[in-house]
């Protein structure tokens, strides 16, 4: 096996065996599970479905009509014949979740008052209100002598289609899909760069501070070492993300009936292949750019504790890129987004937003990819030089002047 792969697989396997890997994987998995089952968890806490609402009917027959219309709700109603004061007391004693009094106004239309210990459960309030609204419509229309079928016609939503005349822009359906994918990819890239960038820098700094680096770079060239490290961590990241996606997918599959709607609104049902390919491309480019930067920064520190300090500027860049892209999701055609999509640090996120939400010319995409590739090569070149000097540089304090010192070390002068 060639030395590049020995280092890459060593980096991958030794990281895979660490507690950190297990802990972070399990934490994120727990988070995914929590999110996927969020509604049922909330339900089990709030005890929904056990709501029993007391109703005092001061009219005639309203209760019966209401009862028939709330049969499929997750709350029940019970008619009370006691006085309002007694009923209120029963609510205060938590025998009932709420009390509703029904009466009829001079036009024969229903009116209601809702009493509860607190009215923070807006879900229940609006549910009750909605049922009563339907009741009112039904009574009012009956008084006017309109058929049920005609009411349905009146209340059915208007067929309203949005079509863009500019042949370049995307249809509503496409846009919804794209937003979902863009969002997922932005999140993934953001997390990947933050987590794995840090991991690369820490790994390099660990090897440097334990002084094993000098032996390593006497066996293989620093450039080989640096890129093998970047690949090894990338493989680790892919493993982790693959686990997340698999578990997340399985989770969603098992609850498809309940969360299917959410999936659809995220555009994850029928995904456009081109967009996925763009996503993978920009993800890889983004990872490579930031990983190279992280390896370079990791090589100039002498102690592991200093890693966080030197990668702050890199973290800022990625946070700015993320914020810009979130802004860009809303206004993808703004000038800021357009300009930003050509700045290499922002390209992977902003250009992907533009590719996903706008129909932009191929040359624009190619240009930005070209700029990115050139920047990555430049960074790899400088990074490798800094790396080569950096790994031999042991200074008490670390500053960005060390980049200059590291470069001087590799000079022949």
């Amino acid at each position: 096996m060639n030395k590049f792969w020995i280092i890459a697989s060593h980096t991958y396997l030794s990281r895979l065996k660490t507690k950190m890997f297990y802990i972070s994987t399990i934490l994120v998995l727990a988070f995914i599970m929590l999110m996927a089952n969020f509604d049922s968890i909330i339900e089990s806490f709030s005890g929904e479905g056990e709501h029993e609402i007391a109703v005092i009917d001061e009219s005639e027959g309203l209760y019966d009509t209401l009862e028939s219309s709330v049969a499929d709700k997750d709350w029940e109603i019970t008619q009370l014949t006691s006085s309002i004061e007694d009923a209120k007391q029963a609510v205060i004693n938590e025998e009932y979740s709420a009390l509703v009094t029904l009466h009829v106004d001079e036009n024969g239309l229903p009116e209601a008052t809702f009493y509860a210990n607190n009215i923070t459960d807006s879900q229940l309030v609006s549910d009750v209100q909605q049922s009563l609204q339907q009741l009112k419509v039904r009574i009012a229309t009956e008084q006017l002598g309109i058929e049920q079928a005609q009411i349905m016609d009146i209340f059915s939503p208007i067929p309203f289609e949005k079509i863009s005349l500019d042949s370049n822009s995307k249809s509503e359906e496409e846009l919804n899909q794209a937003r979902g994918i863009v969002y997922v990819m932005l999140m993934l890239l953001y997390i990947a760069v933050l987590m794995y960038g840090n991991l690369i820098a820490t790994d390099v700094a660990t090897e440097k501070s334990s002084r094993v680096m000098e032996i390593l770079v006497s066996s293989v060239s620093p450039v080989t070492h640096m890129f093998a490290k970047i690949l090894g961590i990338a493989l680790l990241g892919m493993t982790q993300v693959a686990i997340f996606i698999l578990v997340g997918f399985a989770m969603l599959q098992s609850r498809k009936s309940e969360v299917g709607g959410m999936l659809e609104s995220f555009g994850l049902e029928n995904i456009s292949t081109t967009l996925i390919l763009y996503g993978v491309l920009f993800f890889l480019l983004g990872y490579l750019l930031y990983a190279t930067l992280a390896a370079m920064l990791g090589s100039i520190v002498s102690r592991v504790e200093e890693v966080n300090q030197v990668i702050i500027p890199m973290t800022f860049l990625i946070v700015i890129a993320f914020l810009l892209s979130m802004f860009g999701m809303g206004v993808p055609d703004s000038t800021v987004v357009t300009i930003g999509s050509y700045i290499p640090f922002f390209t992977p996120m902003l250009m992907f937003v533009r590719v996903g939400l706008l129909d932009i010319a191929m040359w624009e995409v190619l240009l930005s990819v070209g700029i990115m590739v050139a920047t990555i090569l430049l960074f790899a070149f400088i990074g490798a030089k800094v790396y080569r000097g950096g790994v031999l540089l042991y200074d008490k304090s670390t500053s960005f002047k060390d980049i200059k010192k590291a470069l001087q070390l590799t000079k022949k002068g």
């Binding site: 096996m1 030395k3 020995i6 280092i7 060593h10 030794s14 090897e207 334990s210 002084r211 094993v212 680096m213 000098e214 032996i215 390593l216 770079v217 006497s218 066996s219 293989v220 060239s221 080989t224 080569r388 031999l392 001087q408 070390l409 590799t410 000079k411 022949k412 002068g413």
Partner: protein
């Protein structure tokens, strides 16, 4: 001829770390590098290994430039010891050996042999951070020699070891040499260099001040040491012409004399003055040469 350094110079900005160093290190030999702190030993080693580019000059191994293609035949023990603290000895050594082109199985077999030899087979599955410093050094040494390098560079191999371990490592180094490895090593300890090396070089602030074969160096140094044990006072020898240094000892004195002829004059001078139990003309020690050439006592 194997390792050849020709007019090698290394400058860091305005500072010259190694100045115009030319060396020929014959195959199958041990070559000693001496010098104080900052003399340029480690810089020279790093240049040989290609970790640093030289400012000018040439370094060749059997006539070819040394690059990463040759890394499989080179072994290196850096001055600053470094191993992965969290890795087990086995994982660590096998990884480093594979980076020197060894197969996994082969590396494991060799590692077991070395651990047996150093009488520490129980460390195979221990983490490096759990070992004592001296034992870490044995592991580090194994990592430098496990792939049977043709050229072995040892930067201060014996520092921080107890005498028993020093002997163990010395034997290992001598065995490697006898099996055809050319060894370059630096040391603070003159007696190690004196004992192990045929050729040596003393660096001072980047300049080679003495170099050549040990015997030649001693012979051309000219001065000899004279050890006299006698019952009478030898104070008067302090001002004897030809005596460079006078050092009182409990049983007499040790003199450094400018040439061996002086010893005969001294002998006639002290004859009959008292009982002389010992009169011994000896070669100067490397330490004497070092002190004279570098101009300051070392250690």
């Amino acid at each position: 001829m194997s390792l050849l350094l020709k007019n090698v110079t290394k400058r860091f900005g305005k500072h010259t770390a190694v100045n115009n160093l030319s060396l020929a290190i014959p195959e199958n030999e041990m070559f000693g590098f001496l010098g104080g702190n900052g003399a340029g030993k480690t810089t020279t080693f790093r240049m040989i290994l290609g970790l640093l580019d030289r400012s000018s000059g040439e370094i060749t191994w059997n006539g070819e430039a040394i690059d990463y293609e040759k890394s499989n035949i080179i072994g290196y023990l850096p001055e600053e010891r470094g191993l992965y603290p969290k890795l087990k000895v086995k994982e660590q050594i096998v990884y480093l050996a594979r980076l020197r082109g060894m197969g996994k199985r082969e590396a494991e077999t060799e590692l077991n042999k070395w651990l047996e030899r150093f009488k520490v087979p129980e460390y195979l599955n221990q983490k490096v951070e759990e070992l004592s410093k001296g034992n870490q050094q044995k592991i580090q040494f194994i990592s430098a020699v496990i792939h049977k390098p043709k050229l072995l560079i040892l930067d201060e191999p014996f520092s921080g070891l107890d005498p028993i371990n020093v002997e163990m490592l010395k034997e290992a180094v001598i065995d490697l040499k006898n099996n055809g490895t050319s060894i370059v090593f630096s040391s603070h300890r003159m007696e190690h260099v004196e004992e192990l090396c045929e050729h040596l070089c003393i660096l001072q602030k980047g300049n080679p001040v003495v170099q050549g074969s040990l015997r030649e160096i001693k012979r051309s140094f000219g001065k000899k040491n004279l050890v006299i044990h006698a019952d009478m006072s030898l104070d008067f020898l302090k001002d004897f012409p030809g005596v460079v240094l006078y050092k009182q000892t409990s049983e007499g004195c040790v003199l450094q004399i400018s040439s061996e002829e002086v010893s005969q004059e001294i002998l006639t001078r002290i004859q009959g003055k008292g009982f002389i139990r010992k009169f011994d003309l000896v070669e100067p020690s490397l330490n004497d040469i070092f002190i004279e050439k570098v101009g300051a006592a070392y250690e």
